[in-house]
């Protein structure tokens, strides 16, 4: 599978390829690359073939099957699907079959996409490396000894290895952007409320967003246009028209003010990453942008604020996994408290337990004010500072991750070291801002480097347009890992 998303759709439209051809190519790509990468937890061979045949039949009848007609897409396995299982890479949901499809799955189906399978993640989207999976770890297509990032590591690896032209992930604190950076592809976290989370298994409800992973800004624009929009089944979904993102790409880049904060280029940043992002900013300046220096002094408080809030929300959201209505139930509970406590102990992995413990602690009597409430107040400071910076400029540019992809096992023993991989992505999550990671270079060792563009609420069009102009003038996004 070497065609991008827009190219795939165009090929089907001009009858240079059928949906069946594209689906077969994707399934073949998965068969040849996935035994090494382990990006997929479930491949929908038969359902995908049936679906492709149906699309081809409808196209032959002259039906307009939608803007993604015939395009193979992969889904992170925390998006509910009536087909197959929805495991969240957790033992507690090992055999769970969702009774309904997520909103974004309905949108993909209505747009004519062919879903080819579900991808691996850190259990319940908690982690930064896709090593905390109840299935198996996923590997980075650029170096099999390294992690693909997380938590949407399966989706990112599948797109980077060109098994599928695009995939969906979810992003609570950077889970679309950081794996996109680690795998050398594009990953967009939309504005909070832009995409309905109906059918996304909840992690941190005031943070979670579903976003596209693709190889170009143009492909991300196409996929975002399909999944964005109001849905009354998610009360945080915003009722606001969806712009023509693909149309936005063609508009001129200038005038554009790029904000750069010294706080994003400080201690802990790998120098090769800093240099690559600086070079990319220089490129955008040569394309007509102006550089503005801004101050973001609360940046270093994003990490503790994020972990207190997301863990508190997770501890509440994950209370539903109790061995009663669905999911794993312990074999011989001593009583009903033990039914809950043992089912959960047997079903959840260590990182999930740690976050439930941290969140329960932060919400518990005597600690609520000192931890949870204080974090919510600092969140206000962080959001207001970012919004003020975005009045001085049109978008902020930073590295996506302070470090290149690390090796498997390198950070699993130290939860704090793992959390530090997310420091640059958390601000946009806490403030609900859209943020886009795109490739901007490689380390001397050949590992991808990503930069993050961040804009004001609902300015996805500006992010996509800026990235598109950058990609017209660079070819980092076009590099493909050796098979």
């Amino acid at each position: 599978m070497s065609r991008g998303l827009a190219e795939s759709v165009a090929a089907v439209r001009r009858k240079a390829a059928s949906a069946r051809d594209l689906t077969d190519a994707a399934l073949q790509g998965i068969r040849s690359a996935d035994p090494r990468l382990k990006a997929f937890v479930d491949v929908w061979e038969e359902p995908a073939r049936r679906r492709a045949a149906e699309i081809d039949e409808r196209l032959a009848r002259g039906d307009d099957c939608g803007p993604l007609a015939g395009a193979p897409i992969a889904l992170k396995d925390n998006l509910c699907t009536r087909t197959g299982r929805t495991t969240c890479a957790s033992k507690i949901l090992a055999n769970y079959r969702s009774p309904y499809d997520a909103h974004v799955v309905e949108r993909l189906e209505a747009a004519g996409a062919v879903i080819v399978g579900k991808t691996n993640l850190d259990e319940f989207a908690m982690g930064s490396s896709t090593e905390n999976s109840g299935h198996f770890p996923t590997r980075n297509p650029w170096d099999l000894s390294r992690v693909p990032g997380g938590t949407s590591g399966g989706s990112a690896a599948a797109v980077a290895a060109r098994m599928v032209p695009a995939a969906l992930g979810s992003d609570t604190g950077g889970s679309v952007r950081q794996p996109a950076a680690f795998c050398g592809i594009c990953g967009l976290k939309p504005t909070y409320g832009r995409v309905s989370r109906y059918g996304l298994v909840a992690h941190g409800s005031s943070l979670d967003q579903i976003g596209p992973l693709a190889t170009t800004a143009a492909d991300a624009a196409l996929l975002l246009g399909v999944i964005a929009g109001h849905d009354s089944r998610d009360s945080t979904s915003v009722d606001r028209p969806v712009p023509d993102y693909a149309g936005e790409l063609a508009r001129p880049l200038a005038p554009l003010r790029i904000g750069v904060a010294a706080e994003f280029f400080g201690e802990g940043l790998d120098p090769e990453i800093g240099a690559a992002v600086e070079a990319a900013i220089g490129r955008l300046v040569r394309l007509g942008a102006t550089r503005v220096d801004v101050q973001l002094k609360y940046t270093r408080y994003c990490l503790p604020t994020y972990y207190l809030i997301s863990s508190a929300e997770a501890s509440s959201n994950l209370a539903r996994f109790d061995g009663v209505h669905y999911g794993h139930r312990t074999a011989h509970p001593a009583d009903y408290i033990d039914l809950y406590a043992s089912s959960r102990a047997e079903g959840f992995g260590d990182e999930v337990k740690r976050r439930i413990m941290l969140g329960t602690f932060a919400l518990s009597s005597g600690y609520y004010d000192a931890y949870y409430l204080r974090a919510l107040k600092v969140r206000t400071l962080i959001r207001d500072e970012l919004l003020a910076a975005l009045r001085q400029c049109d978008l902020l540019i930073s590295p996506t991750s302070p470090v290149p992809p690390f090796t498997l096992g390198e950070r699993t023993e130290d939860p704090l070291a793992m959390y530090l991989a997310d420091i640059y992505t958390l601000g946009a999550s806490l403030a609900g801002l859209p943020a886009f990671s795109i490739p901007c270079g490689f380390t001397a060792a050949g590992l991808p480097i990503g930069m993050q563009l961040m804009a004001a609420h609902f300015e996805e069009g500006l992010l996509l347009r800026t990235a598109h102009h950058y990609q017209q003038a660079s070819d980092w996004h076009a590099r493909v890992p050796a098979p």
Binding site: Y192, D335, I337, A341, R344, L358, T360, F361, Y371, L373
Partner: protein
């Protein structure tokens, strides 16, 4: 920057606290996990204590990033999933009901 006094506390996460929180969270932990988590959680909480450096007096908390409140939809009937689909994932079911161990005659903890 200074903290606002009352909440400037140093919190220790000892094994007793971990057992208490694990009970609140309905998680059965092994002794080994209690020991490991108390060390790891103490390190994370100590890291989180740097928020005490900030003066948050007079700052409103932010629970949601966008000012969207009390969204209501029409109270219109829609087709339900149906008992069969809802029960399809139940660990144990009987006669259209979820089956649970006996809960009466037990002290609620």
């Amino acid at each position: 920057m200074t903290g606002d006094g009352a909440s400037r506390m140093s919190t220790s996460i000892d094994e007793t606290t971990v057992r208490h929180v694990a009970h609140l969270a309905r998680l059965r932990l092994t002794d080994e996990q209690v020991k490991r988590f108390s060390g790891q959680l103490a390190a994370i909480i100590q890291y989180a204590d740097q928020l005490n450096e900030l003066d948050t007096s007079g700052v409103e908390p932010t629970a949601h990033p966008l000012p969207v409140h009390n969204v209501l939809r029409d109270d219109a009937p829609r087709p339900p999933l149906g008992a069969e689909r809802v029960l399809a994932n139940a660990p144990q079911q009987e006669g259209g009901c979820f089956v649970l161990p006996k809960v009466l005659d037990q002290e609620s903890a």
